[in-house]
Structure formats: C-alpha cells, structure tokens
C-alpha cells in the first residue's frame, strides 16, 4: 500500500461534522435502549447508511480496477422486484435472498463481460444497464409498487439481534470478510495491479480480464443484496425510486475513502468511513433543519471541503506558501 493515505483526513472531516452536531445538540451521539433495542442517532446513521455502505463495498473493487459501475442503483431496483415477486409467490426467505443476490451477480457478470471481454468503456458499458435496468424493474413490477408482507424478510433490514440492528451487522460482517479477502490473500494485489497497469499485469501472468470481470460480478452481488435490504426496509419493491441516484452516493463514499478513481489503489476501511460520512451528512441536514431547497448546497460544500483536505497538491501548495511567508519575514 502506498504511504499517502487519505484516511486521517477523512477521519478529520467526519470528526468535524460530528463535532459541529455535538455543539448544536449535545445528545447527538446519545444511545438509549427502547423496546429492548438500541435507539439513537448513531444507530440510525448505521442502519440507514448500511445500504450505501454495501453498494460502495462492491464499487470499491470495481473502481480499484480502474472501472466504474453506474448500474448499481438500477440493479437495486431489479433485485428488489425479484424479492417481491418471489416472496409473493410463496418462496422461502433463503431462496429469495439467493435469487436476488444471484440476479445481481448476473447483472454484474453482464457488465464484466462488456468491460473486460469486449473492451467497452466502463462508464458506457454500465450506463446501458443503468438505463435499461429501471425498465426491467418496471416490467417485473408491472408498473406498480409491490407490497411485501413478510416479517422474516423485513427483519433483515429493520430487525435487531440482542438489541443491535441486523442490517449494519450483516454489512459490517461483509466488510470484514472482504477486507480479509483482499488483504490476506493475493486478491487485493491482483485487483490493484490490474487497475494500475493492465498491460503490465497481463505480461506478469495475471488473468487481467478475469480479475476485472470478477470485480463486476462481486459488485453486482453486493448491489443485489442492497436490493434485498432496500425492499425489506420499506416493505415494498419500488421500481422507480429504489436505488435512485444511489450510485452517486456510493461512488462518493468510495472515492472519499481513498480508493483511486484511476484505479490501482483500494481501501475497504476508507469506503466504510466514506459511507458513514455521507450518511452523517444527510442526517445532519435533517437535524439542522436545513430547508430542503438549499440542503444540497451544504452537502456540496462539505464534499468539497473533504476533497480539498485530501488533496495532496493543495496541501503542498499551502505548505509552500507558508514557507515562503516565513522566509520573507
């Protein structure tokens, strides 16, 4: 791993945001127990943020190969519809989740095929499914919001185990697993090598196309499970709204977390924190009572601030300016 980690700056941004919230509302981080489970703002942030986290997890690997997957939001809509259709025809929970994750992986496989085997630009290749995916989801749902009445299914998104919300638990487990997979095996090295220089990695004997394609499959599977959580969260499959613009938040989480958009560098931990940052930001807007019409502005400003904090170039320029001043005086 390269030494110029952006993680401390991301943590600083997050701490700043939470600090501002604490000043305005000292109870911001308070967690109480209500009806036998944890209850409080941090719990909300983790639960509501779990979907962005999961999307971002899959995207991390894809972006590290130098690609991008714009279709994840649409895949969420498709797999949500798959869940509704399966459950409403009496399928079991395990089969439903497997089908949804499978459908997501299949979609990712399609993207991988276009990108890795046929060589279409990732933005274009995944844009196809981003546009077509909503249509597919609409077709599956028949243009309606499908209601899901299945307590076991809803438990995945809104349930608690020993008072701890299930969705973040599942997602954190997936993060730990993925982190171990990329850092304890050679997988992370392969992905970063392909992202850094595909030709060189191929000459070094790496099946570069396969690594790339598998990253898209993994990303699709993550989006598939996000679809499960999204549908379970609102007890309905909404082909139009589910996962709408979710890809943008997820890409932001990945990039602010230190994974390079140009590929070749990835940070699972950074993605996790990036997703928390973006969700904390959304929650802050609700708490500060920022009028909806101007809410995007502070959001944009904070994103800009974090990006500036992370910019090596800006930091060295400021440092140079500082030095010149000192030299002059």
């Amino acid at each position: 791993m390269k030494s110029r980690s952006t993680l401390p700056w991301l943590l600083a941004g997050l701490a700043l945001l939470i600090g501002l919230n604490l000043v305005a509302n000292p109870a911001f981080l308070k967690i109480t127990v209500q009806d036998g489970h944890l209850f409080g703002v941090p719990v909300d942030i983790l639960t509501q943020g779990s979907r962005t986290m999961l999307l971002a997890l899959g995207l991390t690997l894809v972006i590290a190969t130098g690609g991008v997957d714009l279709s994840v939001g649409s895949v969420v809509a498709i797999t949500g519809a798959v869940c509704a259709l399966m459950l409403n025809t009496g399928a079991g929970l395990a089969a439903t989740v497997a089908a949804a994750v499978g459908a997501g992986a299949l979609a990712g496989g399609g993207n991988g095929l276009l990108v890795a085997r046929i060589g279409i630009q990732p933005i274009v290749a995944t844009l196809i499914l981003m546009v077509a995916g909503r249509g597919i989801a609409q077709l599956l749902c028949g243009g309606q919001v499908l209601i899901i009445a299945n307590p076991a299914f809803e438990f995945l998104a809104n349930g608690f185990v020993l008072g701890v919300p299930v969705a973040p638990l599942l997602v954190v487990a997936l993060f730990v697993g993925t982190h171990a997979f990329v850092r304890r095996t050679a997988a992370g090295l392969f992905i970063e090598a392909v992202g850094d220089n595909e030709t060189a990695s191929r000459f070094a004997g790496l099946a570069a196309a396969r690594v790339k394609a598998l990253a898209y499959v993994f990303c699709g599977a993550c989006a598939g499970f996000t679809g499960v959580l999204t549908a379970a969260n609102i007890r309905a499959a909404d082909a139009n709204r589910a996962g709408e613009n979710a890809e943008l938040d997820a890409i932001f989480a990945v990039v602010v977390g230190g994974t390079a958009l140009t590929g070749g560098r990835l940070s699972i931990m950074g993605t996790f924190l990036g997703a928390i940052l973006i969700q904390t930001l959304a929650t802050t807007m609700y708490y500060r009572g920022v009028p909806p019409a101007v809410a995007p502005v502070p959001k944009a400003l904070l994103i800009l601030a974090v990006s500036l904090l992370q910019s090596e170039q800006l930091r060295s320029r400021v440092a140079a300016l500082w030095r010149r001043k000192e030299a002059a005086s």
């Binding site: 909300d44 909503r134 969260n233 709408e244 909806p292």
Partner: protein, 320 residues
C-alpha cells in the same frame, strides 16, 4: 431523468371513487358523438386508470371514442391527431407528452373547426385560440384540502412536521404553498420542521426517524406531500414505539390503494386524492363546447378526500 419517471409523483396514484356524473348530457345528440383521444402512453398505473376512465365513460355515454396510445412519442400523437381530423371527429382530446411543437397540427384542427381539449398537462403556444381549454389536476387545491381537514381534525392546534416532495417539482411547490396558506387561519397550528423525502418511502422513513429524535414527543402531526412518504413515516413512527394515526396524526396526498387501506386501518388519518378519472369531466366539457357554451380556459378535475369516515367504504370500488 427519463421520461418514465418525470411524472413520478403520480405514478402510483390510485384510481378513484366515482365522480358524480352531472346530467349535462341529458339531451342526447341524434348522431353518435365521435371523439379522438391522443393519450401519452401507458407508462404508469395512474395513466392506465386515466385511459380506462376515458374509455369507460365513453362507452357509458354512447360516445364513439377513437383512442390512440402515443407510446411516449409526440410524433405518434401528432399522427393520431391528423388521423382524427381526417376521420372528422367532433372533438379532439390530447394529453400532451411535451409542451412544445403543437402549433402546426392544432392549426390544422382549427381550420377543420374541431375543438381541441388538453388534459393533464398543458402546452406552450403563442396562439391560445388553438385549444379550447385545459383540464388538469389541482395540486394547490389538494394541499388546501389537506390543511382544512387537518385543522378540523385536531381543532386547530398542534405541531406539524412536513415531509416535502422533490425540491422544485410542481406538486411539491404547490402542495407546500397551499398547506401553508391553508394554515394561515390557525395560528396554533405550527409547522415546526420540514425536510424533503423526495417522494420516496425510504426518504419519508429516514426523515421521520430524524424528526422523531430531534423533536421527540412534540410532534403531533405529519403532513406528507405524497402517500409513499407518509407510509414510510408511519413505519418510522411504529419503530419509535408510537402508534401512527393515534399518537401522531398523518395527513397525505395521492390516495394510492395502499394508503386508502392504511386509512381504513387507522395508520394514516387522511389522504387527499389526485384523481386520474378525467372521463366524466372531459365529456361534460365537450358537450358544453359543442352546445356553444363558454367553458373556463383552465379547469381542474375534482379531487376527493379519504379519512376514517369513508375509506373503508371506498376500498372495494378502488381500481387498484
């Protein structure tokens, strides 16, 4: 982003309880009335209910309706209008897909002396004589009805949190303004917080979760710009250990099937309908126009309101 979702707020609107048909059509014309209807397409349940209403009402009144599905393309609609003109229909109804580019074909209709009525969406034209009138949904009135109902239900007192639609969208703007105007008469009814839930269920749920933690028990009323957000908020209220509909009063707009069910079950207190059933009003207007009466240039479809008193009764007649 795509044409399919530009009408999102309306996508899942429920079909409505029957509007009373006025006896204006009593003097039945001797020859069958021929009406051409250029529909946008069949992109949503709301749209389908809209088409069904036009067809069913035509059948009921013995009108020969030429129905054309534009499949989301203006060129199909223009072609349909031309064919209506050659067929010599008595009136043309258009639900324009886009606002511009209608002048030439409308001029042809005018030359053929066929009155044109626009429904649902309006057009931009320099010559307002090209169409007789526009009939649409009144988002403002919907917000007003919600405010009036609420003032009565909570006897003019309470703290309201507002779940707004997508910032900048027409229904969100109108429903916000109307509600605030409606509340002006009741100084003890206060909006203590407002945020956008983007017309989404998960948005409504997320914002409501935050509101519940921020304001705690101070919240008496939730006003949501659409049913999806209200349903999401109801869920958030339940998860916070409160009873939606009892501990907190929920008022919303659209009257989609699920929401009317929720009203009947007492989880939501009231939902104002944005009706897709334009049929009766459109044919009434055509009858007036053909009889030479003056009609208002702009008029709105009448919306209904569902609360505990009539929701359960309305359920069986809901079309979806």
């Amino acid at each position: 982003m795509f044409t399919l979702i530009t009408r999102q707020p309306f996508l899942f609107l429920a079909a409505a309880a029957l509007l009373t048909v006025t006896g204006l059509f009593g003097a039945a014309p001797k020859k069958t009335l021929k009406v051409g209807f250029a529909q946008t397409g069949a992109e949503s349940a709301w749209r389908t209910a809209n088409s069904d209403s036009m067809k069913a009402e035509a059948a009921k009144r013995g009108i020969d309706l030429k129905f054309s599905d534009g499949q989301g393309k203006q060129e199909n609609q223009i072609r349909a209008v031309r064919s209506f003109i050659t067929q010599g229909v008595d009136a043309i109804v258009i639900a324009p897909i886009v606002e511009t580019g209608w002048d030439p074909v409308l001029r042809e209709a005018k030359r053929a002396k066929i009155p044109v009525i626009l429904t649902d969406r309006t057009i931009q034209t320099t010559d307002a004589s090209l169409f007789v009138c526009f009939i649409g949904s009144d988002f403002y009135e919907e917000g007003k009805m919600a405010a009036d109902w609420l003032a009565k239900a909570v006897s003019g007192k309470g703290n309201i949190v507002e779940l707004q639609g997508t910032p900048g969208s027409a229904p969100a703007n109108e429903r916000r303004k109307a509600f605030a105007d409606g509340l002006a008469k009741y100084p003890s009814l206060k909006i203590i917080d407002a945020q956008s839930g983007n017309f989404e269920r998960s948005g409504g749920k997320q914002v409501m979760e935050a509101f519940l933690k921020k304001h705690g028990k101070a919240i008496n009323v939730v006003y949501a710009h659409n049913d999806d957000m209200a349903l999401g908020a109801a869920q958030a209220i339940e998860e916070a250990g409160l009873k939606p509909g009892k501990d907190i009063t929920l008022v919303s707009i659209d009257a989609i099937g699920e929401a009317v069910k929720a009203v009947a079950a007492g989880r939501i207190n009231c939902t104002v309908e944005c009706s897709p059933l334009f049929g009766p009003k459109v044919y009434d207007t055509i009858a007036k126009v053909l009889a030479g009466e003056k009609v208002p240039k702009k008029s709105f479809n009448q919306d209904e309101l569902f609360d505990a008193t009539n929701a359960a009764k309305a359920l069986p007649t809901r079309q979806y």
